[in-house]
Amino acid sequence: MAGELASSTASPRITRGSSRRVAALRLLRRRLIQAVPLMLGVVVINFVLIQLAPGSFLELMTAENQVSDPATIALLRKTYGLDDPVWLQLLKYIWALMRFDFGFSYRQNIPVIDAISVHLPATLLLMISSITLALAVGIAAGVVASMKVRTVWDTLVSVVAMFFFAAPGFWLGIMLIVLFSVKLGWLPVGGMATIGGASSGFAAVLDILHHLLLPTLALGLFYAAVYTRVMRSSMLEVAQLDFVRTARAKGLSRNRVTISHVLRNALLPVVTILGVQMGTVLAGSVVIESVFSWPGVGSLLFDSVSSRNYPVVLGIMVLGSLMVIAANIAVDLVYMWLDPRIEIR
């Protein structure tokens, strides 16, 4: 979607006033309609891929429970609907999804939606905080580098950005733990909250923020590095355009020109990348959650793949896809807001 958006900017249709709201609603409707076949594709592809993986949750389950009786295994197969042909299982799954039924996790003995919803807030919190950090740091550093181009500041920003771009997330996470938790003792090693600590109120919020800081840095600094590089080059490119030269000629201050004219237009590529990267942020959280024992969906996904807990894997895939689609729709709307000339086709 963001890719389509980028290409559409080549032939923008100028919209103004209240027609922008109409255009936004039109875009929203179009994107929601497009999301239906997209989701269907996601479900079908993931369902088929999971079926292709060797080993099944039933085999693992009977293994862990030392079940060898063929009658018991047959009963379990029937109970879990594994006797049905794959296409029928898929149809049943899609039909259930249409009723917002994500299935049942027999391994955990709870509905899939319950299994995921326990972990989802933690992942959303980590994703939002990491993206916020990445945007704030990336945009600020990119602006500074572009304003101080070819100075020591520019070089410093570039070197630091390159470092965080190259550093693997799990390594960075462990290094942060060693420095800030083990050596300095400032921050907790892992988890989302102090066990037995405050469970509500301001103290609980502070406690969670305390635990959130290191995983946010480990996940967010990579994307901050990406945004820094993109922002810097975008700022330099926009600064060469005629309307910026005109603004300067009108006698506006350098800061006013940079913030009001250059920055706003230079943000467009960053917003585009943000939409594309929502999925990779979710994937990256799997690794970071593991390093920091963050009780998010990533840990659940890892366990579910390892145990062939297909209903949960599929549920996470579907919800993850929904999140990415929603984020891309939001990005499209932000895009329209940033550049009023554009109506996305």
Partner: protein, 541 residues
Amino acid sequence: MGNDSYRVTRRIFGVGVFGAGVVASSLAGIAPARAQGTPKRGGTLVATWGGGEPQACYVPAGGGSSPTFSSSKLFERLGNRTMEGKFQGELAESWKPSADFKSYTIKIRKGVKFHDGKDMTVDDVVYSISEIWKKYAAASALTDFAGVAAPDAETVVMTFNTPIPEFFFSSLLCGNVNYIVPKHVYAGSDPVTNPANNAPIGTGPWKFKEWVRGSHFEYVKHDAYWRKDMPYMDRLIIRYVRDPAGRAAAMEAGDIHIGVFNPVAPPDIKRLTGTGKFVATPKGYEESVWSTTLECNMRNPIFAKREVRQAMFHAVDRSFIAKTVYYGYARPGTSPIYSPNKEFFTADTYKTGFDPKKAAALLDAAGFPKKADGKRFAVNLLAAGWFTENGKIGAYVKQALEDVGIAVNLSVPDRPTSIKRIYTDYDFDMAISNQANPSEPVPSTTQYFTTDGIKKGVPFRNANGYSNPEVDALVAKIKVETDPAKRKELVFQFEKIITVEAPLLPLVELESITVASTKVQNHSNDPNYLAATWYDIWLAS
């Protein structure tokens, strides 16, 4: 960081029968963590283990080490085994066999309460044995079980179709998850899906409080615990940290006090103990000794010849594996009964030590000389991917076998695929796998070699298809022999046959390690410490 920095003692259960080799030398001369002074009451102990979060807090069939670890603090068994190897009562006060060893009378402990305040009665014991043990927890051991009854309010009688050796029966009462569960919670339900499995009600020293999925279990002191004034501590937290480096950091930061079953990577063991703030000990695993095994699939005609199977083991340097892959925290395996087993291990067996020349000679004699391309034959080697070390061993075994002219296709699939390929599809020529065996060899050890152990789709049984009437008859005798000395002699015979036949043998016996803060007292004092109740653990100031 030299060995001097270690503050651990290696006092292997049953030491002296087999050389502890590299491990002993690396851990020698180090004192165990033992109780110091008057136990301190109160406080919170945070523990972890070298694996992930369980699928449920309690799994009636066991479900692996993770649910065993989490449930064993909440439930209790009828019996227990001391570090000295003696059996003692836990929820049972005593037990004794009938004259013909076909029934056992168990006296049940009085004054035991479940966490919900209800008394534990003989009805709970009868229900647990007939509905949980027989069907799930000990199904493979209770093949000759005839029934269980409670003649009075303090007595339970278990009857069998055949004579049952006392050691076997006592081991059964101490089985990992052979718990006494509350009948009033489980009766009339499917025990596997009972919601109480995620918030268990047991009789143990710790009472379930909360499970924060993805993070930890929180248990609190069971105030009505039958052991007077126990446990010492107020709270026990079992915390899950997926990454071993993360566990090491959490321990170093003081967030976790004790980690069982290899919580950190070997280099971190040395680093942590080197600080003087931690001890590491191999004690507490004597009743659950892990090994890495190599087995030959008898369905491949190449392995029908005993000489070929023996050659496979002669071609592999087990000491190299112990030193290189396990950093010395392992010792070469020689017998299907492992060296810490003081009841049944014998060193007097056929030795398949590292001898590539002998391996080559055996292969030549078996009719597999090197061909023009330098190869004798090709095999598919599967290294079960549930432990990362298995993949490394697979890479080494491939090299070692290629050195004697055997082409090897190595694969290291993940856990579900490994289970399917080894135990369901029998899709391997050779497999590197793992076992954890208690002292009692029947059926845990013997089922890897008997014909009735061949059960398609059931893991950790006889996957190689080895079938030998002599072995079957011998194991049948071991099952019913009630004279301890004669039984021991029969097991020795079993070991001798298996080491000669070599369908499956341990490459190395693993040295499981507990790492604990020096503040933690009374730990590693049970031969199956991961599955112990930890009622007497405490934290020094």
